[in-house]
């Protein structure tokens, strides 16, 4: 699943989150930022935000 060990308690999470579960504080901060910018109040619509996500991930050739 990943090249590094993960916290067994994170097994049910999306792989992107469990991948860095060994640093629980970073994982928590990551999730908070993600929720804020993708689902929080914003002049950008959900479609616009998801479109940026796709454009960046594609430009990075990031499959996940």
């Amino acid at each position: 699943m990943t090249w590094v060990k993960t916290d067994p308690e994170s097994a049910a999470m999306a792989h992107i989150l469990s991948s860095h579960s060994l640093n629980a504080a970073a994982l928590e901060a990551h999730l908070a930022l993600y929720r804020t910018i993708m689902f929080g109040e914003s002049p950008l619509s959900r479609v616009e935000r998801e479109a940026i996500a796709v454009a960046v991930s594609a430009a990075n050739d990031c499959h996940y």
Binding site: H15, I16, L44, I52, V56, S57, A59, N60, D61
Partner: protein
């Protein structure tokens, strides 16, 4: 990409829009979204080109400063999270369909299946058309090939070649000439380049000219070095696809266990001994002979016009929209 591609289709209900966004085809988008995607892709791919007018273009599209900040945060977050995924080897969850989990081709990569894989006979004909009907001389194509080869070597070494040791193994034909062009660019870029010739006599005229340029720069051919961070294999091209001669075979054996990037095809392919390349940079079109070869496969533009492929009778969806070097496998 897969996760948010699915989310974008879900939120927008528009697959064509999602496809245009994923391919960076901003010309198919309108208004705010067009400006946002252009900003996102430019900041991601070419951060060193960013300047104040990039933000002005977002304002012109009707975004206020709070919206611009939010857009920047989303771009920055996805660059962060993409590095997490690529740097820790995060794989898609098992519940995604197998074809989605296997497929990966978006930006500077083109799915190999979309391109024609030429027989060596077709490749010879394509080269003939380029030279005789378009006036693209061997020298012109060789310069493009060698420059792209130097660029791929730079990428494989992490983006910086200064102070790195690179051995360029050159045959006596056109493939060797391309390797010598790469040797020139890599030397100019500050790499410690060792040029090794399979044999010193019987060089093709263009290859001999390239060697002469290198000599004038103080780069003289010699023996294989004790150490090389990367080996450039430019020993044999597609027109020399038979079993390697003894002098070439010796150099091929020397590459074993080293990091190698091959020009056009791994030398000795389908024979013994042969080069095992970490990456191969094939020129102009993929060749069928490369279908089962291990390692990464890149395709480089040597500027052959679309009309030449048409004349050959093969469908040619232009693969170089995003880069002169694209990964095809």
């Amino acid at each position: 990409m897969v996760h948010h591609g699915a989310a974008l289709v879900r939120e927008s209900g528009d697959e064509a829009l999602a496809e245009a966004v994923a391919s960076g085809r901003t010309d198919e988008l309108e208004g705010r979204l067009r400006a946002l995607i252009a900003y996102a892709v430019k900041l991601t791919r070419f951060p060193e080109t960013m300047a104040e007018p990039d933000v002005a273009r977002l304002r012109e599209a009707g975004l206020d400063d709070r919206a611009i900040v939010d857009a920047n945060q989303v771009v920055a977050y996805f660059n962060y999270v993409n590095r997490v995924a690529d740097g820790l080897g995060v794989e898609l969850e098992q519940d995604w369909p197998e074809e989605l989990r296997a497929e990966r081709a978006y930006w500077a990569s083109v799915p190999g299946a979309a391109l024609p894989w030429l027989e060596l006979e077709q490749m010879r004909e394509l080269d003939r058309i380029a030279v005789e009907e378009h006036g693209l001389t061997l020298e012109r194509m060789m310069e493009n090939a060698g420059r792209s080869l130097a660029e791929l070597a730079r990428r494989l070494l992490g983006g910086r070649v200064a102070g790195r040791s690179i051995a360029v193994l050159a045959g006596r034909g056109g493939n060797g000439g391309g390797g010598l062009v790469a040797a020139r660019h890599l030397t100019n870029a500050g790499a410690d380049v060792a040029v090794v010739l399979a044999r010193t006599e019987g060089l093709a005229p263009v290859t001999r000219d390239q060697l002469q340029i290198l000599r004038s720069m103080g780069v003289a051919p010699g023996d294989p070095p004790a150490h090389a961070d990367l080996v450039v294999d430019a020993l044999l091209g597609y027109s020399q696809a038979g079993p390697p001669r003894e002098d070439v075979a010796r150099l091929i054996e020397w590459t074993h266990g080293r990091r190698v990037v091959s020009l056009d095809l791994p030398s000795g392919i389908l024979h013994e001994p042969h080069v095992t390349a970490e990456a191969t940079l094939t020129l102009a079109a993929p060749k069928r002979i490369l279908l089962d070869v291990a390692g990464m496969l890149y395709l480089a533009d040597v500027s052959i016009p679309a009309a030449a492929y048409e004349r050959l009778g093969v469908a040619w969806p232009p693969p170089f929209a995003t880069s002169a070097i694209v990964r095809i496998r």
